[in-house]
């Protein structure tokens, strides 16, 4: 930050960027609660995520143009107000359509705030390069922290609180920005010094889209695996996925040691893919085994997102327009990732659930437990399946109460554990193809990263 840079303004702008970009992933941990509450399906509730990211992708560049026309201070302040108002509507929505519509409006406000923030930052921190770094770091940390914050709020309060709490936060961020708006004349002096608008950095933006698709998959699928597959509570899952932002902080320490943005991009994409490959090959349903892959994804996303954003913005003006392109690329990538992977894992999880139930029932049938107990268990397993239709069931209650006879009790407990193991296997295996595809997407990002220098994009 330049000497005398107004810290509250920088903090407000970084907060605005972090808040908006966190919003693209903050509802991930709340999705299971939302679809239970609003009575929809996994595929349907995915649109709470997709709609926000799709509108962000479409609105980012036009929002940047508007910011250039009406003034970035005004655009950011209005954007944050719209974001807050739509957040309130999201929190009060009692059906999926209203929620999705409000999310779309929220994305329009968010796009205005984020792109205008990038236009305001150079004047606030004193240089374009520094502004790009602050902007990219705030976005990466926001995106990585989003799921954990959302999970904690869902568990401690409700899924609605995720949106309602954004209202005061957005308004707090808007206050110093309003003051910035009054100094737009000073910003205009800096604008006059920058070069005219050039074409977007194609390779960096394409790579950004591909990596974002892979990262979205990592966050979205991992959260669903933890909550829907392994039956963790939202707060439990939030604690687990906190490993990713913590690793991202580590990555943000490593990044400055390597000046080459291309090397950081390539290393980041490789780490993200390696982490996703690890998640695709989990050898057991144990939370601890998700930590090494999360470490790789977290460090990787920090390196690759900031390096590609810097590359896309570097030496290009106006920053807001090129920032708009990077926002557009990132969120388009998230949309493509979600649209491509959701049907795959939805189908897989249904198939694997059936296979797991069959495998568990086979264990019950082949056991030496009294046939009358077997019959009773078969009926109760079937009841659990009906109660938790379409989901991976919590099978423990089907085995309650346990027989009083100690040997029968031990046998039934063994059967319960074996059936649960089969369900864990099924749930974990159901996510493997999606994680694997996401890993391939991350690796494919190496193509535009590698080509960027050769073709001079």
């Amino acid at each position: 930050m330049s000497e005398g840079a107004p810290r509250p303004r920088v903090a407000a702008l970084a907060l605005a960027v972090g808040l908006v970009l966190a919003d693209s992933s903050i509802v991930v941990l709340a999705l299971p609660d939302i679809y239970r509450d609003l009575g929809t399906s996994v595929a349907g509730v995915t649109w709470v995520l997709i709609s926000f990211n799709l509108v962000m992708a479409l609105a980012a560049v036009p929002a940047a143009l508007v910011a250039r026309r009406v003034g970035p201070g005004r655009s950011a302040a209005v954007g944050l107000a719209v974001f807050a108002g739509a957040g309130l509507a999201c929190g009060l929505a009692d059906d999926l359509s209203t929620l999705i519509l409000a999310r779309c409006v929220q994305a329009i406000g968010g796009a205005a705030a984020v792109t205008a923030a990038l236009e305001l930052l150079p004047a606030t921190v004193g240089s374009e390069r520094r502004a790009a770094t602050v902007w990219a770091a705030a976005g990466a940390i926001g995106a990585a922290l989003g799921p954990a914050v959302g999970g904690v709020l869902t568990e401690l309060v409700s899924w609605q609180s995720i949106f309602l709490i954004q209202v005061p936060v957005a308004l707090v961020a808007a206050v110093p920005i309003l003051a910035v708006a009054r100094h737009e004349a000073a910003t205009a002096v800096l604008e006059a010094e920058v070069r005219p608008s050039g074409r977007p950095h194609l390779a960096a933006n394409v790579a950004l889209a591909m990596v974002s698709a892979a990262i979205a998959a990592a966050l979205f699928l991992l959260v669903l695996l933890l909550i829907e597959g392994w039956r963790l509570t939202p707060i439990g899952a939030a604690i687990v996925v906190t490993a990713m932002p913590l690793a991202a902080l580590l990555g943000s320490r490593i990044g400055p040691l390597v000046p080459s943005a291309r090397a950081r991009s390539a290393a980041g994409a490789i780490l993200v893919s390696g982490g996703l490959g690890g998640l695709a090959l989990l050898p057991r349903a144990e939370v601890a085994l998700t930590l090494p892959p999360q470490l790789l994804v977290g460090v990787g996303l920090s390196l690759v997102l900031s390096a590609l954003t810097e590359t896309a913005l570097g030496g290009r003006a106006p920053q807001a327009i090129h920032g708009g392109w990077t926002i557009s690329a990132r969120h388009a990538g998230v949309v493509v990732g979600l649209l491509a992977l959701t049907p795959i894992f939805t189908a897989d999880i249904a198939q694997q659930r059936d296979d797991a139930i069959d495998a568990g029932t086979a264990v019950v049938l082949d056991s030496k437990v009294n046939p009358l107990i077997k019959l009773d268990l078969a009926a109760r397993i079937q009841d659990r399946l009906e109660e938790e239709k379409g989901k991976v069931p919590t099978i423990g209650p089907a085995f309650e109460p346990l027989p009083e006879n100690s040997s029968e009790r031990a046998e039934v407990e063994g059967l319960r554990d074996e059936l649960q193991e089969q369900l864990n296997r099924g749930a974990t295996h159901a996510f493997s193809p999606s994680f694997g595809l996401a890993a391939i997407l991350g690796l494919l990002a190496l193509v535009p990263i590698g080509l960027s220098r050769r073709i001079g994009l």
Binding site: I254, L257, R262, R264, A267, L281, A362, L365
Partner: protein, 174 residues
């Protein structure tokens, strides 16, 4: 360390970390962590030397389920859950388009297979096998459906299931 070397070290370290993780998880069995496959009900399932009537009843009902499931083209496990309650049977019938008559025929075929398996395993004397088969072949459809409805007797009470033949079965235990 100069900038170019740092870049190479970073990319190299990323490749090593990614390969190490994937390799370690593969070595720990990550590629085969999936639900165990259930057996084809049409394949013969050998009996494991049952000694008591309860064990014979157990194997007998498993063979019967296998035979019925094979006839219906579903897994033994799916059929077992379907027979657990009348509601489950109704859902099963709707899902697979199988009416009660077809289900009853399949269960009767399953019971006959169970007799054959019991004979092959030496758990049932051939002297009893013939009359038992005749008894089962003559079980009317509504009686078969009744047996399906009352799955407890199907799985838990061979004597109840076979009537007089069950008494004989007990007498001819090896």
């Amino acid at each position: 360390m100069n900038a170019a070397l740092r870049a190479q070290v970073l990319v190299g370290a990323a490749i090593v970390a990614a390969l190490a993780l994937v390799g370690a998880y593969l070595a720990a069995g990550g590629s085969s962590y999936a639900p165990e496959q259930t057996r084809d009900p049409c394949q013969h399932r050998p009996w494991s030397n049952p000694e008591s009537l309860s064990e014979i009843a157990n194997q007998f009902s498993i063979s019967a389920l296998d035979g019925a499931a094979c006839q219906l083209g579903v897994s033994r496990e799916t059929l077992a859950r379907a027979l657990a309650t009348p509601e489950a049977r109704e859902r099963f019938s709707r899902r697979y388009g199988i009416d009660d008559e077809k289900l009853a025929r399949a269960v009767r075929a399953g019971l006959l297979r169970a007799v054959a398996d019991a004979e092959e395993a030496g758990a049932l004397s051939p002297l009893l096998g013939g009359p038992l088969r005749t008894t089962l072949e003559e079980i009317p459809l509504d009686r078969a459906i009744e047996l399906i409805d009352n799955a407890e007797s199907l799985l838990g009470n061979v004597r109840g299931l076979l009537g007089p033949a069950g008494e004989l079965l007990e007498r001819f235990l090896p």
